[in-house]
Symmetry: C2
Subunit: 310 residues, 2 copies
């Protein structure tokens, strides 16, 4: 059985690239470019909680990095470097090769270098730290929403949650297993959007963080929320509502921007090949969310997923 | 039961200090000072593997951060910022308060700010990422050892491993539960030492990383290796050898420096209140380790702890 050090060398020790020092010392060394702030985020994913037991390792490699890239997207930051700490029940080389393949394929597309990490034996757990750059003062914060802002959503919502109850719907399963972090969109929203967050816990809950940090409210038209085409055939409005409003793991961006920016934002749709939908507006009122049905009546809110509340 | 967000706010949301943005957004934002490189490291600690089930939460808070601060010490970096990702089996407020107390007490002594993290429910696991600063080009690397360098060890070895078989020896238990990362020593070794590493897996194994990266060998006099006073009473030379050579978790620094630096290094002993012992020398020869007993005869090496090899 390979040792920890052989595993690191074989699967995870790639040339350092732009980092001054990569994998293999007590720490990596790096320098953000002049005028840049460093954005730093970390996520811990556990088997049986954040992904199913026996999950495909290639998809897991993709998804574990995608979740972190999405945090960079939500800040308007350009991902640069990542560290991977992983606990493995055994040193299964086939599993590791597939995991590394999924990880590095996505990393290459986003020019993100693996610069360090940790491996240990234990129940499968993956902790990724990502570091990115954003021009000083231009990060998209949860606290930046202002009354009068348009509220926008990228792509579509609810697909990842739908896959949990309908694993026969391929498009939904792809949303769950292979989310595409909206990195390019986040970068293009610098200087355009006032606030942003990514949908990891569910639209209502994640929007709630923006409203709480910004000291604002929002008015959202439920019928305008972009959603997976699969819901149309299913004709299960309760499931649809739960998935679209409360489903996590979509990794779309929810952002607010002054109405004067509408044409710039709409121009991003063909430029990036991603749908961008105006779903409502930021309004005055501490954390107040008015969710309206197609007839303009207030809807009863579903609660988002909270890792300790449930 | 508190939600994930209430836990974060209550125990871990401290003012950001020198970071541009701390806990509570999709990422933290920070800027290294001019002329500084950023050192980044991550460690994943699991219950039952890296610490005992039911470990005292205050000590665990201390130790989980100490392990990461030690990586900064081994680079000669000044710790600045940390992120804490933690999986908890339940939101036990007493446990969390004690863990946070141990964590923040050590963090305050090293002026390290908590700037982000992640909490989830699951078997107890702690993943800390630490970020520090080191003047450009001055980091202490594993690859810098040169034949002719003196080889030094800080403090004493073997105490943490001794605690595993002799939990009645308080001094050893303190070494295991409450290691003191040699941060100030690492900082003072910038421009003095040629190479450094911290002893996390055992002296022989960790020195081996330095030799491999530096393309050198070493000659070490076993009798000179500084060790816990408790070994003298125990009179168990086999246990002593296993602990001193192969015991992990001591978090002392092993470093090499030109012999011209001896007086500067010896002056650090009273300045920092830490023992520094010259235990041998770096020699030519790829990864060759000559370990000599008191009579100058070669000793048979014990193998260090490897998380997958055992």
């Amino acid at each position: 059985m390979p040792t920890e050090f052989e595993i690191i060398r074989k699967y995870f020790d790639r040339p350092a690239g732009s980092a001054r020092l990569g994998v293999g010392d007590d720490a990596a060394l790096l320098v953000p470019r002049a005028g840049m702030e460093l954005a730093a985020s970390t996520d811990l994913l556990l088997e049986g909680r954040h992904f199913a037991r026996g999950a495909d390792p290639r998809r897991l490699g993709h998804k574990s990095l995608a979740v972190n890239l999405s945090d960079m997207a939500a800040m308007g930051a350009t991902p640069r470097w990542a560290m991977l700490a992983i606990a493995l029940p055994e040193a299964n080389e086939g599993w590791l090769a597939a995991f590394a393949e999924g990880w590095f394929a996505l990393a290459a597309r986003h020019r993100t270098e693996l610069i360090g990490g940790d491996t240990t034996r234990g129940p499968l757990a993956i902790c990724i730290t990502i570091l990115g750059e954003v021009p000083a003062g231009q990060a998209l914060l949860r606290s930046g929403a202002r009354p009068g802002d348009d509220l926008w959503v990228s792509g579509e919502l609810g697909g990842a949650a739908l896959a949990l109850s309908h694993p026969e719907i391929d498009a939904a399963v792809r949303r769950l297993d292979a989310p595409e972090p909206r990195v390019a969109l986040g970068e293009r929203l610098r200087g355009v959007a006032n606030s942003a967050i990514d949908v990891s816990d569910g639209f209502v809950q994640d929007l709630g963080h923006v409203l709480a940090r910004s000291g604002c409210g929002a008015r959202v038209e439920y019928s305008k929320l972009p959603r997976s085409a699969a819901f149309e055939q299913l004709r299960d409005p309760a499931l649809e509502r739960r998935c679209v409003l409360g489903g996590g793991d979509d990794y779309e961006l929810v952002f607010s921007a002054p109405s004067a920016e509408r044409s710039r934002i709409e121009a991003l749709v063909p430029a990036l090949g991603v749908a961008l939908t105006r779903v409502g507006a930021i309004v005055a009122g501490e954390s107040r969310l008015d969710l309206l049905d197609a007839a303009g009546r207030p809807m009863v809110l579903e609660r988002g997923f909270d890792h300790f509340a449930t």
